[in-house]
């Protein structure tokens, strides 16, 4: 199942590496990723796919020190094709 997440993360390359590692390791496939720097944060929009419940990912991402906010967005089927 596909899910869209909005994540606010500290504006550091290692923060992006760290959360992408978690996405991969916890069994979620990255379908789409966009990020924009703003006020010392990256605002990340990400679409992932997995058979696993999404809370298994959001709960792990929320633990990361550099991650300030994790929001699950309602999925727009047309937007991801």
């Amino acid at each position: 199942m596909k899910h869209q997440l909005n994540i606010a993360v500290k504006q550091q390359s290692v923060a992006i590496e760290r959360f992408l590692r978690v996405v991969r390791h916890r069994g979620f496939q990255l379908l789409d990723l966009a990020l924009e720097g703003q006020d010392e944060l990256f605002q990340v929009k990400m679409t992932v796919d997995s058979d696993k419940p999404i809370y298994l990912l959001t709960s792990q991402l929320s633990k990361l020190v550099e991650v300030k906010q994790v929001e699950l967005q309602p999925m727009q089927q047309q937007a991801i094709g």
Binding site: V14, E17, R18, R21, H25, P53, Y55, L56, S59, Q60, S62, K63, L64, V65
Partner: protein, 548 residues
């Protein structure tokens, strides 16, 4: 003040009195700052030894364990101990030297991307990029390692930042964020317990991390709920608790596993439904509704759904459960199972029977003594046949299952608790993985005792080859190991070898009575296996036993 001096100053201010490590080029300024400093450094003979000594120090006290290594191979050698600390939630601070900032990314001598390597095996990690950030990073790192669910934190410090003049920083008052307990979940838990006919408490390492043994025992003594423990929790439930059923899981006791399979409410307290605990997850406690207490919300529902979850410090959440008394019929049944499946030590053979030896050791050790295991059959025998009154006294590599853990962890524990007896129980496979640390024992004249249960085999792997790989004993014969007593003698450590059951009692007495370091090399039956065993894919009540 230089960055290196600031590091040592902050460690001392934080109460760190001892650190473990190994010097090298990129960390030389820090070792220079250590010279004559109030923080005592213990030189191990391999960085992995330093990492595990820090883990042993932390696990035997609850304090922060600190280890140092240089860049490149020094740092890579630390990684296994950090992964181990991550899996078992141990507060460790690892400081690594890095090549100078200007050389980073140039494939400089002894340069490895340590920050990149640390991502999967630390709670958090830093590479310090500016000297003015160093004080804040170090204080945050120490706070993170110890707060919430503890874990290892790594700080990689380039050599130029160690040498740079850094501004003075006041001590930061970092406070833990307390999460508010959801009282709706407490009500749900109380309702589940009110209806429970066959409840079981499933106790994990989180109880010890939360320093909540008193709250746990108050809850158990009030409710009389039968309790089972994970490997890491052993010692949290006091051994004289009438309804303590011991360890559950792959090599757990039969009473513990059957009780969990029969229970209707499973109260998980600071545990994580690890695969070695659950066996076939779909069949694990399949009749039970789960009440899950944990400080880490990511553990709730990760492996098994919870009907009620109480997120927060276990010291605060456990008392909410003491709201009922367990059904007498269920208690009588669990006591009957405990009696039926009690361990037996009346081994008929003439060879040394490891469970008997460990049980005797347990009886003769002071209850303040510390046992540090390695990994394999002996580790499971310790968990089954020795009694502990605190997880501070039973150090065993649980999540990572790291062979080579025992000896350096024992060194860390002995340095942290110089007045307590520390014994490492190892196998003839594991002991060779960090055998170089005998030199650290000698250098510091540490009274660490060593018990090697030697079956001339990589025993646990051999057991699985026998049971599940048609007796194809691939690379598990270790009969060409050195004479361990002679080897220890080279490091000035006395000891003896025993080969017969009749020698066990006197040998255990000699081990316990020795004032300094001592090695007891016990040659055990090479065909002895660990029973019971839940085979792969099976439910926990489908245990294989010796006579099955």
């Amino acid at each position: 003040m230089t960055g290196a001096e600031l590091l040592i100053d902050l460690l001392a201010k934080h109460g760190v009195k001892e650190v473990f490590g190994y010097p090298g080029g990129a960390i030389m300024p820090i070792y220079d700052a250590l010279y004559g400093a109030p923080v005592k450094h213990y030189l191990t003979r391999h960085e992995q030894g330093a990492g595990f000594a820090a883990v042993g120090y932390a696990r035997s006290t609850g304090k922060l364990g600190v280890c140092f290594a240089t860049s490149g191979p020094g740092a890579t050698n630390l990684i296994t101990s950090l992964a181990d600390a991550m899996m078992d939630s141990v507060p460790v601070l690892a400081i690594t030297g890095q090549v100078p900032t200007a050389a980073i990314g140039s494939d400089a001598f002894q340069e490895v991307d340590v920050l990149g390597m640390s991502l999967s095996c630390t709670k958090h990690s830093y590479m310090v990029e500016r000297a003015e950030d160093l004080a804040e990073v170090l204080q945050e790192a120490m706070h993170l390692a110890l707060s919430g669910r503890p874990g290892p934190v790594l700080v990689d410090i380039p050599k130029d930042i160690q040498l740079a003049q850094v501004p003075f920083h006041p001590w930061l008052a970092l406070e833990e964020e307390a999460s508010e307990l959801d009282m709706n979940e407490v009500v749900k838990a109380e309702q589940l317990l009110a209806q429970a006919k066959k409840p079981v408490a499933y106790v994990g390492g989180g109880v010890h991390n939360a320093n909540a043994q008193a709250e746990l025992m108050q809850f158990l003594n009030k409710t009389h709920m039968p309790a089972v423990s994970t490997l890491k929790a052993l010692g949290s439930v006091l051994p004289d608790y009438e309804y303590d059923l011991g360890m559950l899981g792959m090599h757990g006791g039969q009473a513990a596993n059957i009780a969990v399979q029969e229970c209707d409410v499973l109260v998980c307290i600071g545990a994580r439904f690890d695969d070695r605990v659950t066996g076939n997850l779909a069949k694990f406690a399949s009749k039970a509704k789960v009440i899950h207490l944990d400080i880490d919300p990511a553990e709730v529902g990760k492996r098994k759904p919870a009907a009620a979850s109480m997120i927060g410090d276990l010291k605060a959440t456990i008392p909410h459960l003491a709201c009922f008394v367990t059904d007498a019929q269920w208690l009588a049944h669990t006591l009957e199972m405990k009696k039926t499946h009690a361990w037996r030590y009346d081994y008929p053979g003439e060879k040394v029977f490891a469970p008997y030896l460990l049980n005797e050791l347990s009886k003769r050790m002071p209850n303040t003594g510390v046992v540090c295991c390695d990994v394999g059959q002996h580790q499971m025998w310790v968990a089954q046949h020795m009694k502990f009154t605190s997880p501070h006294n039973h150090l065993s590599s649980g999540g990572a299952g790291t062979m080579g853990f025992g000896l350096p962890a024992a060194i860390g524990a002995q340095i942290a608790r110089p007045d307590d007896m520390v014994i490492t129980v190892s196998g003839d496979g594991s002991i060779m993985m960090n055998i170089q640390e005998l030199a650290t024992i000698r250098r510091n004249n540490l009274p660490v005792k060593i018990l090697i249960l030697d079956n001339q085999r990589l025993g646990m792997v051999r057991q699985w080859q026998q049971l599940f790989f048609e007796g194809r004993y691939s690379e598990t014969n270790l009969s060409d190991n050195p004479d361990f007593v002679q080897l220890a003698a080279v490091f000035g450590i006395p000891g003896q070898t025993i080969t017969h059951a009749s020698e066990v009692d006197a040998a255990v007495d000699a081990l316990v009575a020795s004032e300094g370091p001592y090695i007891l090399h016990a040659c055990i039956d090479d065909k002895e296996n660990v029973w019971p065993l839940v085979p792969p894919g099976a439910a926990n009540d489908e245990m294989m036993t010796e006579n099955a």
